[in-house]
Point group: C2
């Protein structure tokens, strides 16, 4: 079960590492972080650099494609060589998944036309510009394409995917392993729930 995670400068680290920590527990999992060229790739905040071990073009098999988002994803929606690799890996894969604005890369690659999909709450219009219909759920399954909402939702998506690939007990065992019994101290994780003051503060940060 080879899981291929394309990375690029400006990706959001938790988009990749959240579901990685779960999918990595699939039977015979092998995770490949791949970039345009092998070598260090920097996430949105600049640190920590992560070493991509393979060039995307050299990845010759892929069971699960997992595309993370982040400011770097938004900047790459016209990067045709990257989109070509996403299309090629999608053709090889059993499952094509995205987290957060990784969905914009799936959209730009033409993979979401006519489908329901989700993304970070701040990217709904962009997502729909690629012919998808935004669905405000944490995880949206459409055939073998699975999109997750913003950043942390990749963990929920990965657990749901493990149930489909292995079984529910396997997914529950991995949930227990990462002690995923979330108890956020506040209830501000979606635009519908967050207080206006928190939204205003985010807006002031220009996000």
């Amino acid at each position: 079960m080879r899981i291929v995670i394309p990375v690029f400068d400006g990706f959001t680290a938790l988009d990749a590492i959240g579901p990685y920590e779960v999918l990595n527990g699939l039977p015979k999992a092998e995770v490949v972080f791949a970039a345009t060229r092998p070598g260090p790739v920097r996430p949105d905040s600049g640190t920590p650099a992560l070493l991509a071990e393979a060039a995307l073009a050299d990845v010759d098999s892929c069971d699960i494609l997992l595309v993370p988002g982040g400011p770097g994803a938004r900047r790459r929606v016209d990067d045709e060589p990257l989109l070509d690799q996403i299309r090629r890996l999608h053709d090889l894969a059993q499952w094509t998944t995205s987290v957060c604005t990784g969905s914009l890369l799936l959209g730009a690659a033409g993979l979401l036309k006519g489908l329901q999909a989700t993304t970070h709450w701040s990217a709904v219009e962009l997502l729909e510009s690629y012919g998808a219909t935004y669905t405000p759920q944490r995880t949206v399954f459409q055939g073998r394409i699975v999109t997750a909402a913003g950043v942390s939702s990749g963990i929920d998506m990965a657990l749901a995917l493990v149930e489909r690939i292995a079984d529910r007990t396997h997914a529950e065992a991995l949930q227990l392993l990462i002690e995923y019994d979330p108890q956020p101290p506040f209830d501000a994780g979606s635009p519908a729930k967050a207080p206006q003051a928190a939204k205003d503060l985010l807006a002031a940060w220009r996000l």
Copy 2:
């Protein structure tokens, strides 16, 4: 606000990256991943290597110390040079925090004697061997020492810490930014909740 994250081969990536994604949003945050020597460090599954930018011994200021866990943490409880660095950084820090079995390193460094603390559910006896009293909560504050339970709990801990350091609105804005509105598809995230079959499967994996 300098956040220092010691890393070592065999750390669990999500232990570090979950709270990193939140703490990174503190005002003037600067995150430093540091290891015994600068260079690539491999998490428990072997990939992706992450580049530590500094040697721990060269880190001369620290506001938040964040110690991740993982099999590599369990293996380092007798690593006196690492424990010395943890003690030194703790003396510099305003807040000393751990995620998962990172608490065993705090314990081995002598920082948890007589305190309440938490850790991964599988490491309770080890934690208590260092003079701490296990408290089955996601996050345990004891003065300026904060321990979080297994792996994913670092996200909850980091949000609670941001409230103390900045304020609640700042923490809520970061929760919204990472769309942390968790909806796990199962309710198996703690030993009290997980079905026996999931526990048996984990035991069969020898975890």
